[in-house]
């Protein structure tokens, strides 16, 4: 599969400032920065207007603050374990001083930028795959509009996003057969998240199929070593036997990662237990069908080894009992995206002839329509409504002193996460709130994370001599200060 070099005379490129400003060079960066600006604006607006459906932004903000002020083993009040135990994102160690200097805006902007750079990499992959510039451009736009990319960007902050340029870089270096850079980036990839080993194993397999056995086998071996180090060495040190993260997502496979892996090896049919779940098929259709259909409509061959790493990531998500992981807009599917789009580029471009105009147009019109539908669905199901009184809530949040423990809802906690103890209402139930704890609630504003019954149960117990009411919830915002330790009962009945 090598490329020949002829004895034609060489064209000498005269470098100047003008060549750096050539339109074809600028265009890719314009797309990247446009995407960065738009996504940063949307995520910042959601933050400022107190709109959130998850709690990852506050979770990682607290995690970074804890690393900076209390060391890497300081436990997050959300998970009860160090933040590094949540996916082994060692890249957070690099991010924490930057977060300390530049704050939340930096996190949101760097996330959007990291995802946006995928457009540039896809132009390069398209070139190497033999696509025309127009087709590469469309592929890049399709990537920027892909459900997983948009959803991950809008919903809080995730360190996984920083792995996307690394993964794309690995793929480009694989295609260009620049193995030193490939090796360095592969090592860097381990820092991003534990599930990166799955993608790397898949890429290694792809290399073996593409007749690069040494590089492929080394990559696969590295991935296996990575799994061992993550599961058996680092997780032990960080988690101290706390396997709640595994239990929450993969308890159906076994009580521990070791048991789960053993079970899959000895009973491989467990890999297909999801086939009876309609949700799994919905997930696969949204993730694979638009891209696969593009190749088929263009009259190209669908199958290539590039699908392998993507399918492995999707399989990991399908094996999970956590329904969030089979949400196409969830960050769990993000690592599949670079390989998915490389598979499309390879499928579209792999031909001795230029693609015919009519099939290509059909392919891209169909793709565009599906993406628009999926994006519209995403916008429709995304929560965009802010709290009723943004100004009053901003003022109330400013009243909470620094460093005191806080109980608050998920859309408020990103604003109050720079402290050791922040609890969601569900976490407050069954807990003794220490003296000095502030409770800040907007009872009429629910985002799906906290049930009405949980809020009501908590509020019912925030009365009596141990509690000072600072703001009356009848006005829309309830704010309380705990004067003496207060045990919050988890079950119904009785008075405090």
């Amino acid at each position: 599969m090598g490329l020949s070099v002829s004895s034609r005379p060489l064209e000498v490129e005269e470098p100047s400032l003008g060549s750096l400003l050539a339109p074809d060079r600028l265009e890719g960066w314009v797309w990247v920065m446009a995407y960065t600006a738009v996504m940063t604006m949307l995520s910042l607006l959601r933050y400022r207007l107190w709109i959130a459906t998850g709690f990852d932004l506050g979770l990682y903000e607290q995690g970074l603050w804890l690393i900076l002020h209390h060391g890497i083993l300081a436990a997050s009040s959300f998970t009860g374990a160090p933040i590094l135990a949540r996916g082994a994102s060692y890249i957070l160690l690099l991010l924490s001083p930057l977060y300390g200097l530049f704050g939340l805006g930096f996190l949101l902007a760097i996330q959007a930028f990291a995802l946006g750079t995928g457009y540039l990499f896809l132009q390069r992959i398209g070139y190497l795959a033999g696509l025309t510039r127009g087709t590469s451009r469309l592929l890049g736009v399709a990537y920027l509009a892909f459900p997983t990319v948009v959803g991950t960007n809008l919903f809080d902050f995730h360190p996984d996003t920083l792995g996307i340029p690394i993964l794309f870089g690995i793929i480009v270096l694989m295609l260009e057969e620049r193995w030193v850079g490939y090796g360095i980036l592969s090592l860097l990839a381990f820092l991003v998240k534990d599930t990166m080993v799955v993608v790397l194993f898949g890429l290694g397999l792809t290399l073996v199929i593409r007749r690069r056995p040494l590089a492929g086998l080394l990559t696969m071996a590295g991935a296996v070593v990575g799994v061992y180090v993550d599961v058996f060495v680092l997780a032990h040190g960080l988690l101290h036997g706390n396997l709640s993260q595994w239990t929450a997502s993969y308890a159906n496979l076994g009580p521990s990662p070791q048991a789960g892996i053993r079970g899959l090896v000895t009973h491989p049919w467990r890999l297909f237990l999801w086939v009876r779940d309609p949700r799994a098929w919905e997930y696969l259709v949204i993730m694979l069908a638009p891209l696969g259909a593009g190749i088929v409509l263009a009259g190209r061959r669908l199958f290539s080894p590039w699908w392998i790493p993507a399918l492995m990531v999707l399989e990991i998500d399908l094996l999970s009992k956590d329904p969030a992981l089979t949400d196409p807009f969830h960050e769990a599917s993000l690592f599949a995206v670079p390989a998915l789009f490389t598979a499309v580029a390879w499928g579209m471009g792999r031909s001795g002839n230029r693609p015919g105009a009519a099939p290509l147009k059909r392919a891209w019109m169909g793709l565009a329509l599906v993406f628009l539908l999926v994006t519209a669905y995403q916008v429709h199901r995304t929560d965009w409504h802010p709290v009723a009184n943004v100004t009053a809530l901003s003022a109330a949040a400013k009243l909470v002193p620094a460093r005191v423990p806080v109980v608050t809802q998920n859309f408020i906690e990103p604003h109050l996460s720079n402290r050791r103890r922040v609890w969601l209402p569900s976490q407050a139930l069954g807990r003794t709130l220490p003296r000095g704890t502030y409770v800040l609630l907007v009872p009429d504003h629910r985002t799906g994370m906290t049930r009405a019954a949980t809020l009501a149960r908590l509020e019912a117990q925030l009365s009596g001599p141990r509690v000072q009411r600072i703001m009356d919830p009848a006005g829309g915002i309830g704010m309380y200060r705990i004067l003496r330790p207060l045990k919050i009962r988890a079950s119904k009945g009785g008075t405090p």
Partner: protein, 287 residues
């Protein structure tokens, strides 16, 4: 432009286009040399612009001081005295003069950049040089005026005995962002004005509206949080607010928005350059 000739690089027997590149360091050296030539040209054009503007005028460069002072006095009277706009802890005149200093640099630079290519058609016909230096020189000429306005602001601050914080020098960083944003926008309007002369009128209107949407005459923390969040999406608004806060409050009140302003600036700068380079081949035809 597509790689129209030959096979795709992934096809068997394909040949990659062969270009010999000098090493990284020699290329960087040549690009720096090229940048040096451009900067000298930009400097000469900018100085010429400033000299030409005030040639044969009685007050000359003093106009760069008189304009903002008179505007600040009018705004100070109308908004500060009649409407009692709050600008505590600093006097309203100082508040509005500070904002106007930064705003006027942007607005005047954009107005100059708009006419920079069409106003130099004779130069374009006589000699080849990178056309992008024209709007760049126009913006930098206004930056020179801005320098004089800063001196006046300093004098007014001293007269009113308003304290400034040690964070004031950090304004330089924000000025770099503002300069990049102004340049990018300048490239857009300069290129479009060659094709459509209405752009000059449109830019005038746009600057007027933009000034009222930016916190030039009012404090942004005086409005509700929801409206604040929308107003802060305006990169000039964020920059002016932040520049003033660094000088008079010693901190940034909305640091997260600086990153949005930075992302928007990078986009505007690159998109402006791209648009200018794409329209540039049409300059000779149209003018």
């Amino acid at each position: 432009m597509d790689r129209a000739e030959g096979l795709a690089p992934s096809a068997p027997g394909a040949e990659l286009p062969l270009k010999a590149h000098a090493g990284v360091l020699p290329r960087a050296r040549r690009r720096l040399q090229s940048l040096g030539n451009w900067l000298e040209l930009i400097r000469n054009l900018a100085v010429r612009d400033v000299e030409t503007r005030y040639k044969h005028s009685l007050l000359g460069l003093y106009w760069t001081i008189i304009n903002p002072l008179v505007t600040a006095a009018i705004f100070g009277f109308v908004f500060g005295v009649i409407f009692h706009a709050s600008s505590k802890p600093i006097p309203y005149v100082v508040f509005v003069l500070c904002n106007l200093t930064f705003w006027n640099f942007f607005a005047n630079a954009i107005m100059s950049a708009t006419a920079s290519v069409t106003g130099n058609s004779s130069l374009l016909a006589k000699i080849y040089f990178p056309r992008v230096v024209l709007p760049t020189a126009a913006v930098l000429a206004r930056f020179i005026d801005f320098g004089f306005s800063l001196l006046v602001l300093g004098i007014i601050i001293l007269i009113y005995h308003v304290g400034i914080y040690m964070t004031a020098p950090a304004v330089v960083g924000l000025l770099v962002i503002q300069l990049a944003f102004t340049l990018g926008f300048g490239y857009v309007v300069a290129a479009l004005n060659v094709l459509y002369r209405d752009v000059t009128q449109l830019v005038g209107l746009l600057m007027m509206v933009w000034m009222y949407v930016s916190p030039v005459m009012y404090r942004i923390d005086g409005v509700s949080s929801a409206i604040q969040s929308l107003l802060l999406l305006n990169p000039m608004g964020v920059l002016i607010e932040s520049e003033r806060n660094l000088i008079f409050r010693g901190r940034l009140l909305y640091p997260e928005y600086i990153w949005l302003a930075l992302a928007m600036t990078a986009f505007v700068f690159l998109a402006g350059l791209l648009l200018f380079k794409k329209i540039e081949p049409l300059f000779a035809e149209v003018m």
